[in-house]
Every structure is written in structure tokens, then in C-alpha cells.
Symmetry: C2
Subunit: 747 residues, 2 copies
Amino acid sequence: MTTTVGKPVPRIDALDKVTGRAAYVGDLEIPGMVHGLILRSPWPHARVLSIDSTEAERLPGVLGVLTRDHLEGIDAYFGSVVRDRPIVAMDKVRYQGEPVAAVAARDLATAQEALELIRVEYEELPLVSEMEEALVPGSPALHETNLCAEQHYDWGDVEEGFAQSDRVFEDTFTFPMVYHYALEPHTSIGHYTNQGITVWSTAQHPFLVRSDLARMFGFSLHQVRIIVPYLGGGFGSKSYTKMEPLAVALSKVAGRPVRLALSVEEAFKTVRRHAARLTVKTGVKLDGTFVARECLIYLDTGAYADNGPLVAGRAGERIAGPYRWPSLKVSSSAVYTNSTPAGSFRSIGAPQAAWASESQVDIIAHDLGIDPLEIRIKNMVSRGEEVRRGQRPLEGDPATGLRLAAEAVGWDDEAAEESGRAVSSALVTGKGLGCNLSGVGSSPTSTALVRMHVDGTLTVLVGTTELGQGSRSAMAQVASEELTVPMDSVDVISSDTSIVPYDRSTGSSRSTTLMGLAVQDGAIEVKDQLLELAALHFESPVEELSIEEGQVLCRGESIGFGELIQEEFGGVAGELMGRGYVTPRSHGGRLAQSPVFWEVGISAAEVELDVETGAIRIPHYVSVADVGKAINPQQCEGQDEGAAMQGLGHTLFEEMLYEDGQLLNPNLIDYKVPTFAELPDKLETILIENGDGPGPFGSKGLGEGGIVAAGPAVANAIFRATGVRIKELPLTPERVWRALRRARGQD
Amino acid sequence: MTTTVGKPVPRIDALDKVTGRAAYVGDLEIPGMVHGLILRSPWPHARVLSIDSTEAERLPGVLGVLTRDHLEGIDAYFGSVVRDRPIVAMDKVRYQGEPVAAVAARDLATAQEALELIRVEYEELPLVSEMEEALVPGSPALHETNLCAEQHYDWGDVEEGFAQSDRVFEDTFTFPMVYHYALEPHTSIGHYTNQGITVWSTAQHPFLVRSDLARMFGFSLHQVRIIVPYLGGGFGSKSYTKMEPLAVALSKVAGRPVRLALSVEEAFKTVRRHAARLTVKTGVKLDGTFVARECLIYLDTGAYADNGPLVAGRAGERIAGPYRWPSLKVSSSAVYTNSTPAGSFRSIGAPQAAWASESQVDIIAHDLGIDPLEIRIKNMVSRGEEVRRGQRPLEGDPATGLRLAAEAVGWDDEAAEESGRAVSSALVTGKGLGCNLSGVGSSPTSTALVRMHVDGTLTVLVGTTELGQGSRSAMAQVASEELTVPMDSVDVISSDTSIVPYDRSTGSSRSTTLMGLAVQDGAIEVKDQLLELAALHFESPVEELSIEEGQVLCRGESIGFGELIQEEFGGVAGELMGRGYVTPRSHGGRLAQSPVFWEVGISAAEVELDVETGAIRIPHYVSVADVGKAINPQQCEGQDEGAAMQGLGHTLFEEMLYEDGQLLNPNLIDYKVPTFAELPDKLETILIENGDGPGPFGSKGLGEGGIVAAGPAVANAIFRATGVRIKELPLTPERVWRALRRARGQD
């Protein structure tokens, strides 16, 4: 009997946000705070011969200048996998826009003036802009080698598999370099003192930032405090450590709290998604049975590793899709180039992998004359089946999800009518599918604290960063449900490492599942204490008690939660605390096996293409999310729709463009993101709720799946509309138009 | 084997404070914050006929004006015992300086200009300035009656006691109206939204402020957040609710966070200590045995009740002193007058009671020819004896403490040499004693949370307000000791009602005892979890494990706390939480009986008096504090010395002076507080440590006792130097000089 879980209750931060009173990092004023600006490299690759900051330091109003010469006592390097990124450039710069120095001044105008007084001598080095060149032996190297990481992933004998196959397909696909474009650029206020560090920052993983800063600046964990107020979107761009070390190091030099608020252009030069080149070789039987797959993946990780090695690994895993593979062999590499470092971005590695894998599935289906839906279903793993060797068996049912998506766009109709139906002289339409399966949840390490006040209302403390996804509301619903108190009796405090208990990170679709479970556990511990107090009150064994609507019931009598607390503390005083621990060993060890759960990404698109211009319109787009149980269906839809839109962004027009190592379009004019004008006429999310998730009330996370299969769904639809296969994203009108011309032999 | 408890470890906030980076409420900038100023009544007693704020509201830059006409939807009254104090004046004003209206504006200059545009029409009412007049039937009344509260306290039959006495003494003493003079005046930033309230405030009891604001503004507890950053002294002036409702109501009108920072003059018009008039009648045997005491106490509580009724009750209890009374009868009343409301002030009611009680003890001793030390010891309650009927028996040993104090000032020498020794023609010296016993601790309702991070360091969350007393350091020591980790591995976060668990209040010498116990309990719960994890690690029963220096030991092997957490969470992740609950039922119910413990106030003074000028110098002053166990001896001494100095303030020169209802001296020029120049030449604190306190490691609180007996100790010394008994405080040179003249028949 759920009362709030499963209901589209309003977000608890809705009013703060629509009234504009929600304070983001950039809105904060810290006592004594001064303003920081960064001097960035104009060169994509150069040796830094000298830096002279004396004039800048002398400028009145300047509190400090940070260069490589001011890093004494600081471990200057960070990185979530490889610690290769310096706070400011050391011996050389590796991409255009890399921080070389920073100034803290009483105001931004003074800081700007000071920046202009810093003299830097560079010696230009050869540019490494393409992965292909980067890997040629003897080519110029950004680091010791340009191969940042190489991940291998295989089982079975692919050579034998190919030998046993009736047909073998090999295709190469490319995926563009894209930017997250969260509305709020990276902003950090660093405050260094010799007793510790406080940082207000746009951080998705505040506890990991805490660890990094503790290590870099020589503090223990309790001396480092990361506070994340409202956050205007992350999508991975604010995962791990980004600008925080620079803000802190600058504060150390300035002796004051320093605010570092990046512009959009600077945020473009902070992190992006990996561009990719994927070669997929697949062996199949004539009946469509998949036999073997071999892939070679190169991911452009830019100037520094960031999360590149992990992204390479995930892309390698995710290239398998939701299919059975008797044999599989993947090599996935992250390659350094002189460009903005690439890191995590919503469903790391998966859109790249799905772009290649799912495009090729349609190539195969077409070649074999099998319906694209049927070839997928035929090879799809089903509930309880091992998805990846040694990993958790599948808890969901992606086949049903894919059928639902296909049905929603009228797949059978199309199949019946044949594809490539011309709407008018210039317009053709087609339908396409895409799907993927990603092991998500990162590690099962979340903790929560649930506090019940003496009036029976709750404050829940969680380390999940509320970055717009609605986590505070979802956590409130879980606590509300478990303790039978109304939603408006619950507040959720999030992401301040000194006051909320540990959480690994906010990402990998993990929060509702893992933090939700921790909140539920905390609520249960509160409930247990209430029952203990009620047992004293009623002089009754706990077994005879139950709770309902904020009361403990016993043999027809009842007492409110608040009254029980008052009885214990003697007056209108006191509170109860409940702890939630989610660890590999907790919950009977059922979270120990990786991944925490499998997230589907299922898309079906109906596309209308103007063959004269190459312009694409999407009359109908369907995304399916398997959420186990929707804690808040409206928020689930919002998350999935957002992911779908972001997927359509990189599918249709998003691409960071470099020329001679210079980023050409770091702004909203030249870098196009989806607006309402580009929305599908009908954008639909279908939620699957089988109660089979490991989270509270059978839930599992979502938010990433929706982005994954947009590219292949649209490209597959274009193929079915035109017979033309495009293997590069984005599908800009020009690229589509050129492809059509080429196909018609006009080029 | 203690490692940090009992050591004078440095305060954990020392560096923040000496470097000036500690941020107090007044240092904060809240996004969107505007500035508030208060229009105060020029009249001590008047009907408010009309208020016209239209012109002020129209002034550009004004965001809102608050008057009685803008209180819709707000319960406008508050008060810790009687809810008689309005946010702003309603029908009438009851003291000069009472808030009548308030303005929120973009800056203080605009706010000031707006204040001057508010037109208020008053009709003056008859002034009630003296308690005697106030209680005359038919006299003008501030409220329905001028008798705010009347407390009775008695046992035995005093009439029979007096009949059985050899001698009966009756004396009347007066105690002045004094101000706390914390260095930081009251400052509050109120932020009202329709979803809740956030207040940054100088609050000793943030959880009680939370309750008041929730009630007044119609919210639940989880919607009200009170944050107390560094606080510059309280001494009771910031206990309960003071300016917070006004700041919040003004924010509601202005639609913005509003900062309300009082001037010192305004703080003088916010709260003060009760002036008192005490008539004490005591019956004794010729051998000095106390037989019966009857007292009539009047306390001037000013315009509103504040904590007056409780102060009256405590003064009534404390007039008994640390003595056995076969019969006792006390009537103690709080009386309204047209002056600043009086509330809690360090050891409520006790300095007033001790002034009367202990002065009279010396009168009796002198009359009976008994040594003042001996008559006290003779009648003093001893360990295990019931101090007040029905209350907790005495856990301490005040007689030993008093002997130590007397010995320290060379009491025996004086007894031998006789008192009143002339030093020179004009200078005479004498020694005096004073002592008292106060039941303290308020109620045993404190909770705490101890978080152990994955590197084994700790963050302790407590609701104790750090107001300069060093509570954060003491709590850190308790946690450090209990968990065998070094002091610099512990941080303490205090006083933010949304993030730290409940505590009743910071006052009544309760924090080290009760919150200290809660912290210890929290640390023990962490320890239990560590042992549980270690039992898994070592595959050993918990009984075979022990902890030492941040490690769990087992049969010669050891593992660090952090490693155990890492093992549980699988990586450098996670944390452990331990809860501490102190309730009447906790700890086997041993805290349930009132008071939590008995705090001694023992003083001995050697005084040098210039008989020509009445000027007093104090060559040697000794205060004794029974702390059970000094968690931090240096901080204990600091607390006790501060209390002694504050006691010498009201003893020697502090007094708020009114004329025609106008406060004459609300500033540091005209209201003298002790400076280094007035310090005793030798100011000494003796700590008694018998390990008999109910707090952690046998500790009990201090900080109030030192203020209590300063007045009688000095006055008794003057008597012994001169034979002149002065029954009014403060002992200004003029008053002493006049008393000497009167005694010599010169007046």
C-alpha cells in the first residue's frame, strides 16, 4: 500500500527553482571572498619556457598569482584514473585553453588586467590532432606515449566463430567530439587555510573531490569539506575533480576564499565526451544468429586521461549490446590528442558503442533480409541470463521493452508497408530501432542518515548531488513511504561532505537504487526505534505493533511518532536517527556482484527526411526505460526525455570542431544543442515496471539509457527511408545531403 | 590511560579566531540579502495610537516595512515561559527601545532614511520603574498584572524553626540590573519562503528557536533551519528566542533574506539580568547551626517575562546555598517594570541569591563570634546528602573546595592576625568567602552523531553552540579519547538544526556533561561497529579484540580503523556512523533525577580598600570549580576565570541605570565592564577532580559557578577589613566611601 512512491509528487525543489531563489555556487558570497580568473594557453601544444608574473603580482588589488612556481607543498597532479593533469601547466601545455596561470583579485576587472600582465614564453610543439597520427610510432607525444589506456575484453574464440559464421560483416563508424553543455558552467569557491579546505563547487562526486584535495594539499578527510548547493546540470561534466584544485591552490596563494566561475567557453575547455572510431566485425548465421564479434575501438581522450581509461573499458563492454555472443573480442583504447580532455558523459562509452553496434545490426538484418526488430529479439539475452561473463545475470526483460518501443512507433505497419515510403516529392520517412544494455551503478557504497524530529517530520541527509535529476524528491519519497509520513513532512539535505554521510558518486544511474536503499535502511532503523519506544509505551511486544500514517498502532490504540519521541526525551525535545549502509556485504551480499543492475537503452524513431536538403524531422520518438518501479513516474519521464533529447543532439548536430588545434565553436551560437524547435513532434517515454530492481520497492535507476540508442535509431530510420547508410555522426543536413548525393552517384 | 582527555590541548578554533578568518553571523553574505533596521520606542510606556509606514514603503530601495499591521498569518508572540513578547509593538510599548517597526532596504543608509519616515503616534502611559510601586494594588500595569510569576519553595515548618532558634537574623539586600555584554551583539539573518525558514543567528539554543519559529510562522520542524556560525559570547543573552522572529517576519515582508545586526545599545535593549531585592530571615543556634530560613525575593523582569519565571524559581532554590536547612520557606517573584526585559544570565538567579545568603552568613558568623569558614563547613551538605528535598543527592564535596579556597588566600593567617589590618594610613585589607550550590544541567536531552571517515578521522556533529566556551574542543577530546585517535583527527560541526542532531540548549553548564556523554556514546557505537568488522577480518570473537591508537588489535595482529572501513565498503570508500542519545531513560536512568549535577560556586577574595576613596583593589582572588574530571584543564580555567571576572564586574561597578524610564548608559563608556586594569593581581582557579561527575570520564560542567559568589566574597572581605556591611551592589567607590562615612557617623 504505497502512498507516495509511484506517484508524480511535485519536486521538493520546484518552488526554489521557479522563483529563482535557489542559490547556485555562483550566487554565493563567502566572507572575504575574492575573484579568480585563469590565463589559458593560446597554443594546443607547446613547451612553457618561462612565466613572469611579477608585474601582475604588483598590480594593486591583486591578492595572488598562481603559476607552476607557486605549487610548493602541493601535489599538483590529479585524475580519476591516471594522475596526469596538473593544476596549471608545468613543463608544457597540451591543449588550447589549458590553464597556465590564475589570478585572484578584489574584482574581476583587476583580475583581467593582471592576467594581461603575465608574460609567458612558449615554444610551439607539433600538433597531435588525430588519433591515427597519434598512434604512429615516432609521432610527437603529449605524454610519454599517446596511448593513454588500452582495455581488452574477450571470451570464446572469435577466429573460430568467424570461421563458423555464414557471413562476416565489418564496418567502421565514427562518433563526434561533443560537449555536455550543462546550463551552469563549472564554478568553484576554494578556501584554503592551514587547518583545512572548504570548497563550494559544482561537483557530482563531492566525496571523491574530497579525497583528491586531501591528498593534493596534505590534509586528512575530516579537514576537507566539499559543499554542493543547487547544481545546474552535470551529465558527467562535473564528475570527479575538475576546477577545485585550482580554486584551492589559488586560495592558498591569495590567503582568501577565491571564486572561480568559468564561462561557457572555459567549460568547453574543461571536459567533453570522447570522439570515437569503432571498427566492428560481426559473424552471423544466415538465420540471423550472432556467432562472433570483434571490435577495435579508439577513443579520443584529449590532452589528459580524465576518466578515459574507464570510458574505454565501458565502451568495450557495451559494444556487445544486449545480445548473446558465443565469442567476443574487443580492444578499446583511449588516445591522447591536443584537445580538451575527455571524461565521463551520460552513459560513458555507450552511445559510441551503440552507434557502431546497432548500426551494424541493421546492416546485417538488411543484408540477410530479416526484420531489424526480429534479428534483435532473436539474439537478445533474457531475464536470468548471463549478460557478460562473470557478471550479474540480467534482471530485466529488454526484449519486451524493444517490442513496446517498436509497437509505439507503429513498427508492424511499416514492416507491412515496406520502408522508404515517399511522403511527397522531397520527403521520405522511415522507422528505426536502437537498443543497448549497460551495466551500471558503479560500486554499492552509499550511506544515509534519516533524522526524525520531535514533531514526527524528517530530515534525510544524503551525499547524492541534486543536479536537477530530482534525487532529493526521490529520496524524500522513499523515506516518506517507508515511515508512512506525508511527503511534505520530509526534507532532504544533500552533498556537504562534512555533514552528510558518505556516498561514492552521483552518476552511473546509481542514486535511486543505491542511495535510495540507504535511505530506506535509515528509515527502517528509525522505525525500529519507534517500535521499541512504542513497545515500552504499550507494554507490548514489538510483534504486536504496526505503523500507519505516522502512528504506531497496538491493539486498536495508537500513538503518534512525535509523542513517542517526547515520551523518551521527556518534553518537546529529542529526535531519532537511523543509519543506512549500502555496502557489498550489506543486504545479504546481493549487491556485491557487478554491475548493480543492467540499464536498458531502447529507442524507436520515426524520421522524416527532406532529400533535397538533408534536413531531418522526427515526427515520433519513443524511448523505453526499465525502472523496476518508478519512485516518481513524472521525474523518470523527465530524466528519460532529457536523455533522449541529449542523444538527439549528438545524433543530429552537436560536434566540437577543431582547426589547427583551436576549438572553433565553444558557444551556444556555433555549437548547436537541441531546442524546442528540434524536439520530436511526439516524444514519448515508456516506463517498464516489473519490480525487479535491486533498489527500494523494486526500483532501479535510469537517466542514462535514453541517450544511448538515439544515433542508431535515427540512422537506421534514414537507411530504411533512403537505403543510404551513414556511418558518421552527427547527421547534419549537409552530411545527409552529401551521403544521398554520393549514393545516387552525384558526387 | 587517557591520551587527550585531561590535557590542555589547543582549542580547535584557535587559529580561525586569532587569524580573524572565523566568520560570525555579521560576516555572512546570503544571496539576495538586504539590510534591516529597527524603529524603537522613545517612550518607556505608551499606547501606540497609529503607525503610518506608507512614506517609508514608497522610498526607493526599501523592500518592506514591518509593523503590527503586517503580521497576518503570524503568531506574533513569543517567550520561553510566557508568550508575552510581540515581534513588534502591538497595542502599546512597555520599555524604551522596544521595537515598534522595522525596515528592510538595499542598504543601511536607505533603511535609516526609511525609519525616519515612519510616523508613530503614542499616548504616554504612567511609568512603572520600581518593583515596589509595581506591586501596589491599583498601580498602572504593564500587562494584566505586574506580577509576572511567583514561585514558592518550602519544606519543614519555618515558624517552628524560628521559635527553636537562639537567634534570628533578617536582612535585605539589593542586586543591580546588569547586562551580559557579550562582545558580539545579537545578529540574525532571517530568510522566509513559503516552504520554510532559514535563520543564521547568534543563538545559544538553536533547537528551541526552531520550535518557536515553526510555531509562529506555521511550519513543521523540518522546514525550519537555524544555523549558528561562530558566536561571540552568550552568557545567556542569546538563550531562547530573541531577534529571530523579527528578522524572519521582516524577511517575509521583504521577500528577501534580511540581515538584522544590533548595535551594542540595541543589545542592551534586548535582554539583561534581573535586578533583585531579597529579604532573608535566618534562625540559628548559638553554636552556629542553621535551623530555619525564610526569604522573600523580588526580581525585576522588565517589560516582558522572557525567562523571568524560571529565574525566579532558581533564585528561590539557590537562596538555600550549600547548607542543610531543617526548614525553608521561599517566595520568589518576577515583577514587570518598564525596562529592558530580563532573562537568563550565567547561573540564573544564583548571584542574586548568593549575594543575600552569603552576606548574611557572615553577618551571623560575626554576631555569633564564629569563624566564617567554620560556620559554613559546619552547615554544609556533604557527599550523598539530599541537597533539596526530592532532588538528586549531592555528588560532590563542597566543604573541601571551600577549605581549599580559604587556604589559598591564607585564611588561617588572617584568622590568626585578626581582620581589618591596616596596610597604611588609607589602605586596609580583609579576606572574604562566598559559596553556593546550584542544580544545573537543564534536562538530559542531548544527541550526537560521530562519523568515522575512511581514513579513520572523525567528524562529530553536535547541537552545542560554540560560543567561545570551547565546546567544540571538549567534544573533540571526548571522541578522540574514546576512539584512541589523535586530537587532530577530529573535527566538530556544531549548531545547524538541519544537519546536527537535537540538543536542548547550550547553557546551565550542561554541554560537557550531557553532550559530552552523547558524543561518547556515539563514539562507542562507532567502536562497536569497528569491532564487528574486525571480528570478521580476524575471524575472531569480539571479546578477543581491543583498540589502541586507531587500530584494532587481535592476538598480536592489528588493523587500522580506515582499513576496516575499506574492507567493508570495498575500496577507499564509506564511513561509519555512531549515534549518541542522552535521555532520562538512557544510561540506566541515572540522569533522570533532577538536577543533572550540582555545580559549586566557591570564591575567596583578598581585598584592599582605600578608605579615603572607597576604591577596591583585589590582590588575590581564588575561585574553585568542581569539574569531576577536567576534559581540558586550560579551558576549564578559562571558563572559571571568565566567570569570576564577570562576577567581579557586577560586584564592583556594573549597573544599568534608568532615569524616567530612559536607559542612561547603554555603551562601553558609561557602562563599565572589567578590563585587565581591574583584574585581581592574582586570579586563581582551583579545579577539583574527584571523577564523580555524570559526564564522560567522570566529568561535570562548569562555567557558571565562578560568577556566583564574587559579590559576597568581596563584601565579606570589606566587612572584615572595615566592620562595615554593605548590602547593595555594585561596590562602587562612591557607595563604599559613603558607607564608610555613614559608619563613622560622618553622614
